[in-house]
Symmetry: C2
Amino acid sequence: MNYYPASILKLIKNISRLPGIGEKTAERLAMHILKAPRIEAEQLANSILELKDKVRLCSKCFALSDSDLCNICNDPARDTELLCVVEQPADMVSVEKSGAFPGRYHILSGVLSPMNGVGPNDIRIRELISRVKESNIKEVVLATSTNVEGEATAAYIAQLLEKYPVKVTRIASGVPMGGDLKYVDQVTLKIAMETRHVV
Amino acid sequence: MNYYPASILKLIKNISRLPGIGEKTAERLAMHILKAPRIEAEQLANSILELKDKVRLCSKCFALSDSDLCNICNDPARDTELLCVVEQPADMVSVEKSGAFPGRYHILSGVLSPMNGVGPNDIRIRELISRVKESNIKEVVLATSTNVEGEATAAYIAQLLEKYPVKVTRIASGVPMGGDLKYVDQVTLKIAMETRHVV
C-alpha cells in the first residue's frame, strides 16, 4: 500500500472503522475529502469534535441534547400532561418521525433484562416515578419494544404506576401497515385478531 | 427535525455531503460516532485535517505525497529506467495494485481535451519531456485511458518523444481477463483480433 502517502492511509483506516464502510468505500471517501474544498473538510472534522464535546443527556427526559434541557422539554408547545416512555433515544426519534405524539418523552436508557443483569435500578425507572409524582402528567404511554424484554419492562412500569392517579397505556400491537398477511408471524396475527375492533 | 440536537444535525448534514452517503446512512454514522470512544472520533477528525494539511504533489512525478518526493520516487528499489505515464493519481494506484510495473511514474494530472479547452500546456507534458531529457529513462509506457482523449494524449506524447533515444510503448488493449466474448464491445474485439499473438 505504499502507493498512498501515510496521511491518506491513516484517513482510510479511520473511515473504514465506521459501521458498514469497507476499505473500497473508505478509499473513495478519502479521495473525495482530498479533492473537496478545505472548508468542507474542516466543517466535517469540526462537527465530529463538536458532537463529542456538546452532546449530553437532557436532565429531565434523558434524550440526546446540546444543553441542559433537550429541544422537546424546552418546547412550550408540547403537551406536558402526556409522557411517552421509550427504551433508547433512537426510539424517541422514530416516534417523533411518526408525528403522532404531541407530548414529552422519558428515555429509560435500557430495558429490564435479568439475563444480562439489568435490573430496575440500572435503567431510569426511579426518575420516571419522580416525574409522575412531581408533575401534572395525566397519561403515560409505554412505547418500549414488543419483544420479551420490552413487554416485561412495560408490565413492570405499569404495575409501579398503579398507585398514582395516572392513566397508563401501551402502544397497539398488530399487523404492520402495508403488511401482507401471509408474511406476518403467528404471534402478531393472534394479537391482531384478539384486539380487533368494530369498523 | 428538532428531535436531534443541533450538533448532531450538523454532523449528519456534513456526512451526507460525502458521495454515495444518503441521509439515513449519515444518521447511522453520526450515531455510531456519538457512541464510539472519544479517542476514535478524535482520530477520525484529526486525520481529515491532517490529510488537508499534509498531502501535496510529488515534485518529480506529481503523485500524491506527504513529502517533497513520493514513496515511489524515494524508493531505491524501483527501476529508474522505466517510466509509466498515467492521467491521474488513481490510475497510478490501479497500476501499482496490479503489481506488474517495477519502474516509476509520471502523472499528467489530466488528459488532452480540446473540447474542454485542455491543451498540451495545461497538463504536465513539458515536465515529462524534461524528465526524459535529463535522466536515463530507457522506456516510457503510455498508460493513459483507452478512450478517445486518452488515445489522443498517448499519440501526442509518442510523437513528441520520437526525437529522444527512448523506447515508447502503449499498454495492450483487448478482451478483459475473465471477460465473456458475447458481452465484449465490437471495437475491443476488433483490436483483440488484430493484435492476436502466437501461443
